[in-house]
Amino acid sequence: MRTVAVVGASLAGLRAVEELRAQGFDGRVAVVGEEPHRPYDRPPLSKAYLAGTCSPESLRLADDADTDELAAEWHLGVRADSLDPATRSVRLSNGEEITADGIIIATGGRARPLLGAEGLSGVHTVRTLDDAAALRADLENSTGGVVVIGAGWIGAEVASTCHTLGRQVTIVEAGLTPLARVLGPTMGRICAALHSDHGVALRTGVGVQSLTSTGFGPWKRVTGVDLADGTHLPADVVVVGIGMLPNTEWLAGSGVAVDNGVLCDAGCVTAFPSVVAVGDVARYQGPDGPVRHEHWTNASEQPAVAVRNLLAGTTIQEYRPSGYFWSQQYGTRLQVAGHPGDADEVAVVDGSPDDRVFVAEYRRQGLPVGVLAMNNPKLFGRLRRQLRAAVAI
């Protein structure tokens, strides 16, 4: 293998380049990234960066010295438009073409848009640095209410940050209990209570009917949100946090199978041994069927396995997810590991939800399968390790 193309220059793409070098690949590495920026960290975009307490520079995942050491070619601000299955070449939006013996797909995802909000200023999603910068600027130049649509992790974090910035915030969530799919209804309710603790209104079980606006053409700006139950929520700024869509359209016609992500085996290898997928875009074969994770640790850890298999030309190692992710809202730290969704029982094993300091264990047929901690990193660390040892996740 002489040339490897890495498509996607964010966390998973950068880690893939680092792993290629760490695992001894000394050929050409070409990285293609649609964003103009060097790889940066997304988690602070809804937290410290949005709050104005960290600079864009501090988000960088690699400094110049690290990047130089990797000796890769960076094609930034350029999109990969297609992958030719016969020649394994990647066609770029600037007309160039990169022919490679190995392809690493790390194209992640984009924020799911709210239908009907196109071209309406004051409406934001938070996926990229540019998104977060635009939201921050809009918050600086307005004073009215903020409505956050979607009470998932990103919605909850953005609501918390806007609250910290002194804004009056309402969250609208179509489901009955926020985060219930991931944490179950009991813990979902407990985590959602953080909003009311801080005077942030949470409206659940009600969908968004439409956005109201004023002006026309490029001056059209949001003024509020109409809910399905007839309520009107006035807003200067609306943030849409309703999930993400994996970036796979560019693979159309490549022969690489795509279904809500890039389908790959347990070692992140697609049907072509020379094409692997990593990070948010990879839908790999887990023990219970194909799964895709949208967490930092996954994007950080998958590349080691994918690169090993790519260089070996076959799957010699399977990926074992730790299922670890964290969130930070209202100064509260939440940490999750394992597979809480598989549980038939959840028990608080330390502290108390009322104090907002506790650890809960998720069990299936009496055996631990997941752990959730609020403001209790130390015990969380221990249980997370026990979990890993017990079920080899």
Binding site: E18, L61, D63, T297, W326, P377, K378, F380, G381, R382
Partner: protein, 105 residues
């Protein structure tokens, strides 16, 4: 010199945090006492709540590992070291000499 706690109160494998403008974490590794900055150089987690493995502490948030002897991270996501501080044991009490004050003590 800041008193941390009695030697007897910090069992092996345990850590305590000395609050302050720059909080410091004190660890007992097999009877050997180490002190480093408590705040991870990556973001803002408290290293005294981390996982201790030999002479290394793993950050509880994103798992960067730091060598307690040198303060150096062993890899991503931390890039910068944390400061190490000198430890003095006097009359059965662990004291820490914060590195930036070393000169004036």
């Amino acid at each position: 010199m800041i008193p941390a706690c009695a030697v007897a109160d910090l069992s092996e494998g345990e850590a305590i945090r000395i609050p302050g403008e720059v909080p410091i974490a004190v660890f007992n590794v097999g009877g050997e006492i180490y002190a480093i900055d408590d705040t991870c150089s990556h973001q803002d987690a408290s290293l005294s709540e981390g996982w201790l493995e030999g002479c290394f502490v793993e950050c509880p948030l994103h798992a960067a590992s730091f060598d307690l002897r040198t303060g150096m991270p062993t890899g991503a996501p931390a890039k910068k070291p944390v400061r190490t501080h000198r430890v003095v044991i006097k009359d059965g009490v662990i004291h820490v000499v914060p590195q930036n004050q070393e000169a004036v003590v």
